[in-house]
């Protein structure tokens, strides 16, 4: 993991308390796994520059 260390922002909606903590290895692995498994195809992003209609 690179610096700055990946941080999880935790907000408790009941108490209004916010805490920051370093991501755990398990959470990091799950994040990578989710990214690898998902099939979102936004291959056109960013879009090619458009030419205004004549």
């Amino acid at each position: 993991m690179s610096d700055p260390k990946p941080t999880i922002h935790h907000h408790d909606c009941l108490t209004g308390e916010t805490t920051l903590r370093e991501i755990t290895q398990e959470e990091y692995d799950e994040l990578i796994a989710a990214a690898n498994k998902s099939t979102i195809d936004l291959s056109q992003y960013p879009p090619a520059e458009q030419t205004p209609d004549e």
Binding site: I8, H9, T18, A34, Q44, P47
Partner: protein, 187 residues
């Protein structure tokens, strides 16, 4: 609070009724948090039996031009990382493109860029996340200011878990922005 609709001319309005209407609109603010450089954002205890349906607004830009996504949570911050998320929708840049998907580990939220001046915004309604025995469904749309990329997605879970929270995270890098949760007041 039950909605009163039988006021007539000359009816005295008790302070309690006025206060109730002032503080209990149809859409009730639950919580909001602003984050910077976060790998993920956990909104804990935002779903409960108080409301059935919720409105989620996110405003995000990131360290990379990529997507943000949701996972539903139980307990304090236990993410449902299993392949229970389904998506039916499209995105538009120069043409409409189908991006349906089954058995995903995430719900799609929005695409975003890296420019602070051009935050990506999303608006998602989540139906009955905290009701056990039913699938959770969502309907969301987003716009990424950097790219003019627009998305519209109907999504649901194949699980019938009663969820209590929501996890927002980018596919890579980190994100800066705000997430706000509202509840639809029940009669």
């Amino acid at each position: 609070m039950a909605v009163k609709s039988n006021f007539t001319d000359g009816t005295a309005l008790p302070a309690s009724d006025i206060n109730s209407y002032l503080t209990n609109g149809g859409l009730v603010y639950i919580a909001s948090t602003t984050f910077a450089g976060a790998t993920g954002v956990e909104m804990s205890n935002c779903f409960s039996s108080t409301y059935d349906n919720y409105e989620i607004h996110t405003t995000v830009y990131g360290s990379a031009a990529i997507n943000t996504q949701f996972q539903l949570m139980t307990g304090t911050n236990t993410k449902d990382t299993s392949a229970v998320y389904e998506r039916i929708g499209w995105y538009w840049t120069t043409t409409f493109t189908n991006f349906n998907a089954s058995a995903q580990p995430i719900w799609f939220n929005a695409n975003h860029g890296t420019t602070a001046a051009q935050y990506s915004n999303s608006q998602t309604t989540i139906f009955r996340p905290n009701v056990s025995g039913v699938r959770t469904e969502s309907r969301g749309q987003s716009y990424a200011g950097d790219s003019n990329l627009i998305t519209y997605a109907n999504q649901f879970t194949t699980s019938t878990t009663a969820y209590t929270g929501l996890y927002l995270f980018p596919a890579s890098g980190n994100i800066t922005g705000t997430i706000t949760v509202y509840g639809y007041r029940k009669p």
